[in-house]
């Protein structure tokens, strides 16, 4: 485990571009309580903020959470500290993609059946969320 000291580039990038400061979080967990996909997250939303506070960049980069977040904005709507967690997640996704290079998900990974049935909206938004 890395110690959370010093400034992490990933985290600084995320902060600057999302305009959100993880230090505002006092870990009440309301985001995690409200999150519809909370059960599927390896790090709950409030943990993501805690990891950000601790500077645990590697753990965040490996976490599934940013990729499972569906940007439903429920966390942000209910946060008592006015932190827009949806923006934090988006910030993380992009910072990770940019740092790492390459895309997370592309058309090649879809079955022909999916490609036919899925609404355009799903394809576009999926690509947009997971690609650089």
């Amino acid at each position: 485990m890395t110690t959370g000291t010093g400034k992490s580039r990933l985290i600084e990038d995320m902060k600057m571009n999302s305009g959100q400061d993880p230090n505002g979080c006092y870990q009440c967990g309301k985001c995690s309580a409200a999150c519809p996909v909370s059960a599927a997250l390896d790090l709950k939303p409030h943990q993501v903020l805690r990891y950000l506070q601790m500077g645990l960049e590697d753990e965040l980069a490996e976490s599934k959470t940013p990729w499972v977040c569906a940007s439903c904005f429920t966390c942000a709507a209910r946060c008592p500290r006015d932190i827009d967690l949806a923006r934090v997640m988006e910030g993380l996704r992009l910072s990770i993609l940019r740092n790492r290079g390459g895309n997370k998900f592309g058309p090649a990974e879809l079955t022909p059946e999916q490609l036919e049935k899925l609404p355009q909206q799903a394809l576009v938004s999926g690509f947009r969320k997971y690609n650089k």
Binding site: S71, Q114, P119, A122, K129
Partner: protein
């Protein structure tokens, strides 16, 4: 009542029926929806990353194309993106300058950006709508499913009370159907996770459907093509009471006595579930 109209990609493909039924119903109600002469995909998601201005080019071009007149869309995602892009243009001068300079358009956030439901509520009025109903949907138990994009973030969308919205229920009531409320009507369906994390979307969708069933719903209406796709395709409904999912416009058209999928109850359409 005349509006500029932005259809968006999905309405020209998978969700054609939402467009067809809306246009037919609007015509019958005397609401003129004039499709923008040129339009592009809204981008489907609003960029939450502050330096992703490139993704705003398309929605801002659309907003500017409305020339300050009220702009209506039907798809929840399109409306979400347009409304938030407009708010950013109003709020952030720096972003506005960058985007409009790049597009070489003049746009400072003017004009109303409306979802068609808002037109029904605010401009037409549900009382008026009730008078126009030809075939009231009597005896049908209909639950609204709002999802995320119309409601949140509420400060920007200003669509309805984000935790206890009523706009769809009010429409359902006006159409003569019985309103059924489920606590999960504002919860996320999983959105594009159906593409990448099918299991997760299956959970979210199952919860929504189960909750609607428990409340006694027979029909679920939505304004979002992706929600509908997920609700129809992601859950395993084996052995459960079937629930049909329609666009809000389809039951609207039906009640107006116009042809619609929901009215025709066509056999080609897969029912959810088959079991």
């Amino acid at each position: 009542m005349r509006y500029r109209y932005f259809p968006g990609c999905t309405l020209k493909g998978q969700a054609k029926s939402m467009e067809d039924t809306t246009l037919a119903a609007a015509k019958a109600m005397g609401i003129e929806l004039e499709e923008l002469s040129e339009w592009q995909c809204c981008g489907a998601v609003y960029p939450l990353y502050e330096d992703e201005l490139i993704s705003l080019l398309s929605p801002v071009r659309t907003l500017a194309a409305a020339e300050g007149e009220p702009l209506v869309s039907l798809c929840a995602a399109c409306h979400h993106v347009l409304k938030r892009a407009q708010e950013l243009m109003q709020r952030n001068e720096d972003a506005r300058k960058k985007v409009t300079d790049h597009l070489e358009v003049e746009y400072a956030g003017e004009g109303r950006v409306l979802h068609f439901l808002e037109v029904l509520r605010d401009d037409l009025g549900f009382d008026k709508l009730k008078e126009m109903v030809k075939k009231p949907l009597e005896g049908k138990k209909v639950a609204a499913y709002y999802g995320c994009l119309l409601l949140r973030p509420s400060k920007v969308m200003q669509f309805d009370d984000p935790e206890n919205p009523t706009i769809m229920e009010d429409m359902i009531k006006a159409l003569g159907a019985e309103v059924v409320k489920s606590p999960y009507r504002t919860e996320c369906c999983g959105a594009y996770l159906s593409v990448t994390e099918e299991g997760v979307a299956a959970d979210t969708v199952e919860r929504i459907l189960d909750s609607a069933r428990r409340a006694g719903a027979e029909i679920l209406v939505t304004a979002c093509p992706l929600c509908r796709y997920n609700l129809e395709n992601c859950a395993d409904n084996e052995g459960k009471t079937p629930i049909k999912v329609y666009y809000f416009s389809e039951i609207l058209a039906e009640a107006m006595g116009l042809p619609s999928e929901s009215a025709e109850d066509q056999g080609t359409k897969e029912e959810v579930p088959q079991g």
